[in-house]
């Protein structure tokens, strides 16, 4: 008896929990365990799917501008408009191109940042790098854009500096490159934070070993670090690409009004012209486009982490 009470409390709690778990989820169902683990996330995302179903319904109805109600009967008119009106092709192409460029540039800058943050021996530097990542979040998108206007505007700091050496002011914001730049700045923290855990998982000794075998740092990056970091790259890449593709705020505030993405066209339909049907249609088509892109990435590069851990089995 006395020996039993000597068990730490946590052990006993664990025993009870194990008992409960075994009762609810017997070992014979072990094969289904991964699905049980996925269930909460799938249900949460299910909320969005319910919303998509609503949208699928409205996408088949057209707006009557005499009553501002959607029609009772179904038709494919919205889809026809979405594929035939040139405006939507323009914004779709612009978003897709931006998603690709932004992903590439963001990953190129995120990797050294994450690498330094993870590998540095100075804990102060690590914290500074971490805090610098979060700095832009806290001023919000709109105020951030105002900050950029002060820096990059016609009378902004950069143009004033250029003026000192005799270069006339030029338009640095309110164009496509400015939108790309703003997106990279917005996405960089996400990419770094996705890469960092993948990098921490790569033992430093592995690099040291490569070095001692005569590989210079570029070679050890190429043949050791980058391949091992692949899960992180795929995670970060997919995140950055989908978020850029569907972004609304950056094109709206750094594009000067003429650099709309698909999400801006969707915003216009929902909020400006009150055409929920066409808005829903565009939203669904964007979801399809995004999912195809994700599927493409997965089939080209594999679905991330999984490849690594399974190979070792």
């Amino acid at each position: 008896m006395t020996s039993r009470t000597a068990y730490p409390l946590t052990w006993r709690i664990m025993d009870v929990l194990e008992g409960v778990a075994a009762a609810i989820w017997p070992r014979s169902m072990a094969r289904a365990t991964p699905y049980l683990m996925l269930a909460p996330a799938i249900l949460l995302v299910g909320l969005l799917v319910l919303g998509l179903l609503q949208m699928a319904d409205s996408s088949l109805r057209t707006l009557d501008t005499n009553t501002f109600l959607l029609s009772e009967n179904y038709s494919l008119a919205n889809y026809r408009r979405a594929v035939t009106e040139p405006l939507f092709a323009v914004v779709a192409w612009r978003s897709l191109l931006a998603a690709v460029i932004v992903t590439a540039v963001t990953l190129i800058f995120a990797f050294p940042y994450a690498y330094l943050m993870v590998r540095t021996r100075s804990s102060a530097l690590r914290k500074i790098l971490l805090i610098a990542l979060f700095l832009p979040f806290f001023i919000g998108q709109v105020v951030r854009a105002y900050g950029w206007l002060i820096i990059l505007g016609n009378q902004g700091m950069v143009n004033e500096a250029l003026g000192l050496v005799g270069i006339p002011p030029m338009r640095l914001i309110y164009n496509y490159p400015a939108v790309l730049f703003g997106l990279v700045q917005y996405m960089l923290p996400f990419a770094v934070l996705m890469l960092a855990p993948a990098l921490t998982a790569i033992p430093e000794e592995l690099e040291a070993a490569a070095g001692s075998l005569g590989a210079n740092w570029v070679r050890s990056f190429r043949h050791v670090v980058l391949p091992l970091c692949r899960p992180g790259f795929i995670g970060a890449g997919v995140v950055v690409m989908t978020l850029s593709l569907t972004d609304f705020a950056v094109p709206a505030i750094l594009g000067g009004g003429s650099q709309d993405f698909i999400a801006n066209a969707i915003y216009d339909q929902f909020f400006r012209t009150s055409d929920q049907g066409l808005g829903a249609t565009l939203a669904l088509m964007l979801v399809a486009l995004g999912s195809i892109v994700v599927g493409l990435v997965f089939s080209l590069f594999g679905a991330g982490t999984l490849a690594v851990s399974r190979k070792r089995k």
Partner: protein, 366 residues
């Protein structure tokens, strides 16, 4: 549950009684105190932020609270963005998130056509208002217009050394390339563009090709496109020399010390109105007090203070214009002033607006 225990009162009767009994008080309802439905703790009025809400608070909300004891909370959600929220609430038979929507007449008309607005034709103070208060092309008063405004051509005098621009065509001068701004859906510019492009206003909406041609020319100027706050920001930071915007935004920049003026060019400017309306689905007593709020907003006292802040002409006769706007084309008072302004019925506007926005976007995004 509170509403159920209350004896049922016919609203129309009550409002009429209020007029009859309370002639002297500003609200016209003090005398009806015994019959008043229960006061809600607060009513929520959707408003635009910044100087817009400050003016409303000073002119209408605060005096209303003082007179009735009903607190007013302002919801600063954009008019475009509250619309789907209210529509969904009515469709799902929920209590709407706001009591009163301060809205553009065009947007409000969409809500009226959809049938989500309460009828306001029994407001006692409607008998004192000008024609401007009545929405054109709708039955009764699903909305009450509360003031008008002009989409002027605002400009920096320094950028126009030869004097004020006389025509919208002046903006096609190459030296204004990248220095002109419009609303991102082109609102306010479609109709003057129709005239500037050689077309007739009577042809709206049947033939607006002249407008699209003119806008396509304007596209070559690489204009900036934005919303209300952008214009003030851009003028303040020297990003633009001219813009087609509501005079209030230009006046705001001027108050902040920016040298800025505005004109109504020879082709004219779009004149439009904003209004107040109440969404369906409110409990009976809250509806009553929401109506009282709008009724109060139509008094001369409330209009004077509210619209001084906005610098816009109201719908009650005898208002004194702010000192800086006497004789200003953006503050039309006489018939002569209105001759230079373009007013298209909200019915025509809402029926065709999506198409116009779409065309404008297609040109500008291309």
């Amino acid at each position: 549950m509170k509403e159920l225990s209350m004896p049922y009162i016919n609203r129309r009767l009550l409002l009429q009684g209020a007029v009859a009994l309370g002639g002297a008080s500003a609200l016209g309802l003090r005398g009806a105190f015994a019959q008043e439905p229960a006061k809600p703790a607060e009513i929520i009025v959707r408003a635009w932020g910044g100087s817009w809400v400050d003016s409303l608070k000073a002119g209408v909300s605060d005096p209303f609270t003082k007179a009735t004891g009903v607190a007013v909370r302002h919801d600063l959600t954009e008019d475009n963005e509250i619309q789907p929220k209210v529509w969904a609430a009515v469709a799902q038979k929920r209590v709407p998130p706001i009591h009163i929507n301060w809205d553009t007449t065009t947007n409000a008309t969409k809500s009226a056509l959809r049938g989500v607005t309460e009828d306001l034709s029994d407001l006692p103070n409607l008998k004192n208002v000008t024609d401007l208060a009545k929405p054109v092309g709708l039955d009764g008063f699903p909305i009450v217009n509360t003031y008008g405004y002009v989409y002027v051509l605002a400009y920096r005098p320094a950028a126009f050394p030869d004097g004020a621009p006389k025509s919208w065509k002046d903006l096609l001068d190459p030296k204004y390339k990248g220095r002109v701004a419009f609303y991102n859906d082109g609102i306010g510019f479609h109709f003057p563009a129709q005239v500037a492009g050689g077309g007739k206003l009577e042809d709206i909406p049947a033939n607006m090709q002249p407008a699209w041609d003119f806008i396509a020319k304007m596209k070559e100027q690489k204009p900036l496109l934005g919303e209300d706050p952008d214009f003030t920001t851009w003028f303040q930071n020297g990003e633009i020399d001219a813009a087609c915007t509501i005079s209030t935004n230009a006046r705001e920049a001027r108050k902040n010390g920016i040298d800025i003026k505005w004109v109504v060019p020879e082709e004219g400017c779009k004149f439009d109105t904003d209004g107040l309306w109440i969404p369906k689905g409110l409990p009976e007593n809250e509806l009553y007090w929401a109506k009282q709020y709008i009724n109060f907003a139509l008094t001369k006292e409330a209009q004077q203070v509210w619209l001084d802040g906005l610098g816009l002409p109201g719908v009650v006769p005898g208002l004194t214009p702010p000192a800086d706007l006497i004789g200003d084309p953006s503050y039309p008072t006489t018939e002569e002033d209105f001759k230079h302004l373009i007013r298209i019925s909200s019915k025509v506007q809402v029926e065709n607006e999506s198409e116009w926005f779409g065309k404008f976007k297609a040109i500008m995004q291309g």
